[in-house]
Structures are given as structure tokens and as C-alpha cells.
Amino acid sequence: MTQHWSFRPLWRLLRRAPLVAWAAVGFAAAAGGLHLALPAPWHLYAPPRSDKLAMLETRRAIANAAAFGSSRVHNGFDPSAFDVALAEHGYPVTSLNLGIFGGAQTEERALAREFVAHLLAPVSAPCLVLLELNAGLNFQTINLFHPRAINLYDPDTVLFALQFSGGRVGAVRRLGRAGIALAAGMLHIANVGMLGEALFEPVPDPPAPRSDALRGFLNEDPSLAGLAGVKQAFESRPSEPAAETMPLLPGNQEMLVDVAAAAAVSNIQLVYFVTPTLENLQRAPRYPDTIDGPGGAVPIFNFAQPAKYPELFEAPLWSDPGHLSRSGAATFSRLLADEVGAWIARTPRASRCGD
């Protein structure tokens, strides 16, 4: 006899719920098996992250310093300017720019760990890991279905991300941060898109030779809209920005622990820095000067303070209200090198990586 399915009323539908559970079991079992079969380092693949990783691969043998973070680092950290300025302090380094457009703390940690894991101890030189403190935590919601998020958010990364959703973060933001991390983690465990990428070799983005030649630093010419934004930001500049005390989150400390633990050599110098934006003309965030790291205090260099770094807050140094121009990047990198140089002078142990 033909069995007729009727979805009315609701209880009859609910009688089918065990079948949905069986389907979920089938899905979980297959996804788990597939997850184990996928190549282990897969989680790092995703343009443009992989472009920076490819650049790192070619310069691994010579680099002993790198800056990590968002587009403010990608556009704003000039390795050449940094190296020259730090050499003037007596600390020769070869640095790389491993900042990425839209980069998040989770991505920053992944790249920093990858960098330090293959670090070769240079003779009489520091190993610097320069971490942007104010990079976003997660990728934006609209980028959830992207390999940059899905490939990266393994359970360990999800736990790391959750460390940014505690403390004094507001309830909505806390929920949003945790929600995105958990959603990305679920997509990761479900291998969404991963088999497609493994089978169909993704078409690479056009190479960025300038970026590669400049060790990852790529600063495009400013747009008219960007310059108009800069002009407006300076025109509406108050006499003094409002001070805003920013909390340090457990994740900030966890980042230091995780990066140090991944290091192939001892005695690496971890540094946090806060990148400036023109929003700082209105509100200047305040952070503690240091944070406890695995090997002692780690400095936090806060460049988001117009009063302390007035030379950074000049209109020609900006491409748009969020990003420095080429000359701005040079200025910022020199200032960062000066701060790092002064710190190393105060903590001599940091000058000799691997000792």
C-alpha cells in the first residue's frame, strides 16, 4: 500500500525528526572521515594569505623580523625603512611585511606561528615578531563563507578566538565574536569547500611583484575618495582627542604564549603595536605600556596618540582615513624601529636571538 506523507499537523512532522538525526549522523561521520583525509597544512591555504606565505617561503632564510596584522600593516609597514632605522640603533634585521587586507587576530596568530616555527637564529641579532594589537578579531560576517575563514578556524583557533569574547567586551559584541568563531569552526569541521580546493587547483590571483620586491609591503596610490576623507578628518579635528581606555583581553596574552611556544629558536622578541588611524584625531585609545608575555614583559607601542606622535598625523601621510600613504608608512616604520631599538637597548637579552 502506498504510504502518503503529510506534514500536517506539526506532530506528524516531528515523528520524522529521528530521520533528520540519522541524516546528521551520516553527515558527521562522512565529514569526519573526509576531514582526516584532507592534507594537514590545508588550513593556511587561502589567497591572499597564501601569497604572503609564498613570499615568506622564498625569504625564510634571510628574514629575522616580521610585522603581522591587518591592511594597516600591509599598507603601513615598510620593511626597508624599518630595517635602516633599526640598524642605526645597532640592531641589524631583515624584516618582512606579513600584514594582510582584512586580516584578523586569528590570521595574525597563524602567520606569526608559521613565521617563528621556521626561524633560523641569526648571529648577534634580534628576532622580532611585531604584532598589531588592534587588528580585528574575526573576519566580517559576510566573509564567513570564504576559505580565509573556513580553512583557518580549526578547534584550536576557535578556542583562541573565544578568548577575545570575554572580559570587558560588551554583550552584543561578545555574542557576535563568539558566534562568528563558532560558525566558522563548524564550517571548518564540515570541510566546506576544502575538497573542491584540493581537487580543483585554485586559479592563483595575479602575482603582485611590487609587493614581493618590497618584502610584502604594497601601498597603492590613494583614491580621490580616500583623500577627501583625509581632508574631512583634519577639518573636523578637535583641539584634543578624547582619551579612551582600552581593555587588554585574555586573547592578547594567549597570542603571545602561542607564538612563543611555536618558535624554533629561543629568545624571540615579541612586540605589540597599535596602528594609527585618523579616527584617533577624535578618540585616542590608551593601553598599558606592557603586557605580561611568556618570557617577561612585552612592550605595547601605541601610535594611536596624536599628542605623542604628532609627526604621524599630518595630512600628506595618509591615503585614506584608515591607511597611511607611502611616506606615512616610512615615517611610521621609522618610529616603530626607534621604539623597538630603545626597548632592546633596555632589555639586552632581546638583542641576541637563540642565546
Partner: protein, 467 residues
């Protein structure tokens, strides 16, 4: 709202839940009509009004055609309906094409005209629902169909969301009778439609969308690629367009089926065709039968004079080509297929019948498949220059550039063809639907795990860059 998007799954789940919870057939139809307008409005709300007005207009014309006694009045109403539908299609889809063509023609004769390109947004699915609507008034005019009993029913037929934007072109003559009674779905049917949806999703998202970037690379810069890469790209495009379109059709048929409605079959393993005529019996069946019944037949169809028959075939295929897109490459593609159909008829007329000849079947399949792939080059290429380069590469008349594609991609289309041949022989999708419920649920869940892992995320732009 594409069938592959998460929000469509949410939408479909909600629609199915409410639909099957309603007890009255009238309420169900009204609800599905509203849901269909919401679905169409997810692209652009402004075009919902256009869809409503076109459907209401054809409902009105069909009633007048049916109610008129005089042949002249009936003819006037059907002409008015055709003018309305083709007018809308012409304005939205072909306006710029005709203007550009006229300007180019004037240029060729030395007259310099300015090129007033209009900024017209193409309403999604317009080619499908105008053809569907046309068939309604023409069928009523031909007295092959009684008009819909009420406006709501016809609006529902015209807007039914599973088939609204990409077919299958479901003629009201086929669909209207289904509106009379409560729809019923049996448990094995539900499983069969769930399997069909999964296979459609796999074809569209798992295969078509994954091979698309490789096709785009070669068609975007054919001179740089080797002849083998061009050949591979043409084959991959054949896979892409089939998986894309038939996958979408599968999902449409399955979505409608879960509500108890039947849509027409749209594809039947077209790349297994042994002749070009056979190909058109298997490819986009709802369109090929539509143009046969409403263009070819209207032109006179098969005539005792072969030349007239061939002219009708050619004109029909040219129109079919133009239906696919507003560009001369599409017209040329249609013309090429028209010529092939004529050549096919001539060959069959001249050669002795050879029923059951495996050699001739294989030869027919080989020639047909390669012809279809060659013709797809015209269909896909941005211009005739690109198409010519790729055709030369395909025929190995030119070795091309040095860029290549991963070698395994060359083997993918034949492998997929073998899979299709095998699945037709073994009928495993049907067998899957007849599994015991719990085994089906387990297998179905596991299959989705593989399908979502195949989603082509790598080629998705990071949205950050748009800001």
C-alpha cells in the same frame, strides 16, 4: 535567491512547512503565489509588478480569445498578447543589441551614427516566463487549452517559483490541470526528489562552479593557451553548461515535486546523443519542444518541399540561438546547429538505414559530441575572433601558446560521461530512493558531506575588497 544559496534552503524549508500545514488547496495555491512573488522580489522588487502585469494581461487576452466568436477578434487578441510579451522581451533583452547592430550596419555603409546605449536592467528569467506565457495564449487560440478558471490560478502558474527564473519552460497546458486537486507526495517520491535535488546541487555547485574558473581563463586569453588546453576548455565548458543548467533544472523539478507538482523533464544525457537530432531531443527539452511547436510549426513545419523544411529548420534554430542571448555569436551558434540538423537529415536520407549498427552509433556519437563542443565555443566566446582562435586550437590547426591547464582536467569530461552512462544503466539514484528510511537518511546525510566539501569557495572574492 539562487537555489544553491543557504537562504534558498531556509526559504524552501519554510515554504514546504507552511504549504503542507495548510489544509485547503485554495489556500495552498494562494500561499505559493505569494511565496513565488517573494522569491522573485529577492532579485528586484520592481520586476514583481512587471511579472504580475504580464501574467494578468495574458490571463485577460486568453479569456477574450476563448470568449470571442469571430476569427478576426481571436487573432487580434493573440497578436496583442504576442506583441506584449515579445515587446517586453525586446525592450529588456534585445534593445541594446538591435541598436548596436543598426549602428554597426550604418558604420559599414559609411554613415556615422552615435551609439545610444541604454542602461536597461535585464529582469531575471524574462526569456523563460515570456515564452511560457506566450504558449498559454497561443494554445488557447489554437483551441488546445481552456483558459484558467480564475486569475489567481494563472498568476500562480506564471510565477511558480521553482521554474520561474530558469525553467524548465512549463507550459500552462501541462501545469494548469495540476491545480485542480490537492497534491499528494508519497514517501518514495519524497526520497526521489531529495536525491534529485542533491544531484542537481552537486552538478551546479560541485562541478559547474568548480570548472568555471578554468574555462574563464582560457576563453579570456585564448592566444596564451596551448591547443590541448583550448580543447580541454571547450570540453570543460560543455561540462559546465550542462551541469549548470541541468543541475538547476533538477533542483527546480525536485523543489516542485516536494510540493506535489510535476515539471517537465529538461535534460536526458545529451552528450550520449548519437546524432544532432538526437541531441536536441535530449538538450533543454522544454525549449526545443517549445520552439518546435510554436516557431517551426508556425513557419509551416515539415513540408513536401525539402528546401522549405530546411528553411524552417534554419529559421527556427536562428531564433533559438537569439533566445539564448543578445549577441551575434548566439545567432551563429543557432545557425550552426540549424545547418547540422539539415546535414543530419540529408545524411540519413542518403545513407541506407543501419539500425543496431554499433560502429555507426559510435561514429555518430563521436561526431555529434565534438560538433556540439565546437559549437559551444561560439556560444561561450565573447566575440568571433576569440571563437575562431579556439576553434583553430580545437581542430589542432594551430598549436597555440605555452600556457596549460592541469592535465587531469582533460580526463574529467570523459570520466563524467562514463559516470553518467553508468548511472543511467544502473539507475542508482532510483535505487537510493527505495532504500529503507533510516539507511536512506544516513546515506543522504553522508552524501551532503561530500557535496558541501566540493563547494567552490576558492574563487569567491573576499568581500572586503569591495569596500
Amino acid at each position: 535567491m539562487l537555489f544553491t544559496e543557504l537562504r534558498f534552503f531556509v526559504f524552501l524549508g519554510f515554504v514546504l512547512f507552511v504549504y503542507w500545514s495548510l489544509t485547503s488547496n485554495d489556500h495552498r495555491k494562494t500561499f505559493l503565489l505569494l511565496a513565488s512573488y517573494v522569491f522573485y522580489g529577492s532579485w528586484d522588487w520592481r520586476f514583481v509588478a512587471m511579472l504580475f502585469l504580464l501574467s494578468a494581461g495574458d490571463f485577460f487576452f486568453a479569456r477574450r480569445i476563448d470568449g470571442s466568436q469571430s476569427a478576426a477578434a481571436r487573432r487580434a487578441y493573440v497578436v496583442a498578447s504576442m506583441t506584449m510579451n515579445l515587446g517586453v522581451l525586446g525592450v529588456f533583452k534585445y534593445c541594446n543589441f538591435f541598436i548596436d547592430s543598426a549602428v554597426s550596419l550604418a558604420d559599414a555603409f559609411g554613415a556615422s551614427l552615435s551609439r545610444p546605449t541604454l542602461q536597461i536592467i535585464l529582469p531575471v528569467g524574462i526569456s523563460f516566463f515570456t515564452f511560457q506565457s506566450l504558449s498559454y495564449t497561443i494554445d488557447v487560440y489554437r483551441r488546445e487549452l481552456k483558459p484558467a478558471r480564475n486569475l489567481r490560478d494563472y498568476l500562480f502558474v506564471a510565477a511558480f517559483f521553482p521554474q520561474l527564473v530558469a525553467g524548465p519552460i512549463t507550459r500552462p497546458a501541462f501545469f494548469l490541470p495540476q491545480l485542480v486537486d490537492h497534491r499528494v507526495v508519497t514517501a518514495p517520491e519524497v526520497r526521489r526528489f531529495l536525491v534529485m535535488f542533491l544531484i542537481g546541487y552537486l552538478k551546479k555547485a560541485g562541478i559547474a562552479d568548480n570548472v568555471a574558473p578554468f574555462v574563464d581563463r582560457v576563453f579570456g586569453d585564448p592566444d596564451s593557451f596551448s591547443a590541448i588546453a583550448s580543447l580541454t576548455a571547450a570540453w570543460l565548458y560543455a561540462v559546465q553548461i550542462y551541469c549548470d543548467f541541468s543541475g538547476y533544472s533538477d533542483m527546480a523539478i525536485a523543489s516542485a515535486g516536494l510540493m506535489g507538482y510535476r515539471l517537465v523533464q529538461n535534460f536526458d544525457a545529451p552528450y550520449l546523443a548519437s546524432s544532432i537530432q538526437d541531441f536536441w531531443r535530449r538538450w533543454h527539452i522544454s525549449l526545443s519542444t517549445w520552439i518546435r511547436d510554436y516557431i517551426y510549426v508556425s513557419l509551416g513545419g515539415r513540408s513536401p518541399r525539402r528546401v522549405v523544411t530546411y528553411r524552417n529548420i534554419l529559421l527556427t534554430m536562428l531564433a533559438g540561438g537569439l533566445w539564448h542571448g543578445a549577441a551575434w555569436t548566439f545567432v551563429a551558434w543557432g545557425g550552426l546547429h540549424g545547418c547540422a540538423l539539415i546535414a543530419d537529415r540529408e545524411t540519413k536520407r542518403r545513407l541506407p538505414p543501419a539500425r543496431g549498427s554499433v560502429v555507426r552509433q559510435c561514429l555518430g556519437w563521436f561526431l555529434t559530441t565534438n560538433f556540439v563542443c565546437l559549437a559551444w565555443i561560439l556560444f561561450r566566446a565573447a566575440d568571433f575572433g576569440t571563437a575562431l582562435t579556439l576553434i583553430r586550437h580545437y581542430l589542432m590547426l594551430d598549436s597555440g601558446g605555452s600556457a596549460t591547464l592541469p592535465p587531469w582536467l582533460t580526463a574529467l569530461p570523459p570520466a563524467l560521461l562514463i559516470v553518467q552512462y553508468a548511472s543511467r544503466s544502473w539507475r542508482w539514484p532510483e535505487k537510493l530512493a527505495f532504500l529503507e528510511e533510516r539507511s536512506f537518511a544516513l546515506t543522504y546525510g553522508a552524501a551532503w558531506a561530500f557535496v558541501v566539501a566540493l563547494l567552490p569557495l576558492a574563487h569567491r572574492p573576499f568581500i572586503y575588497f569591495q569596500f
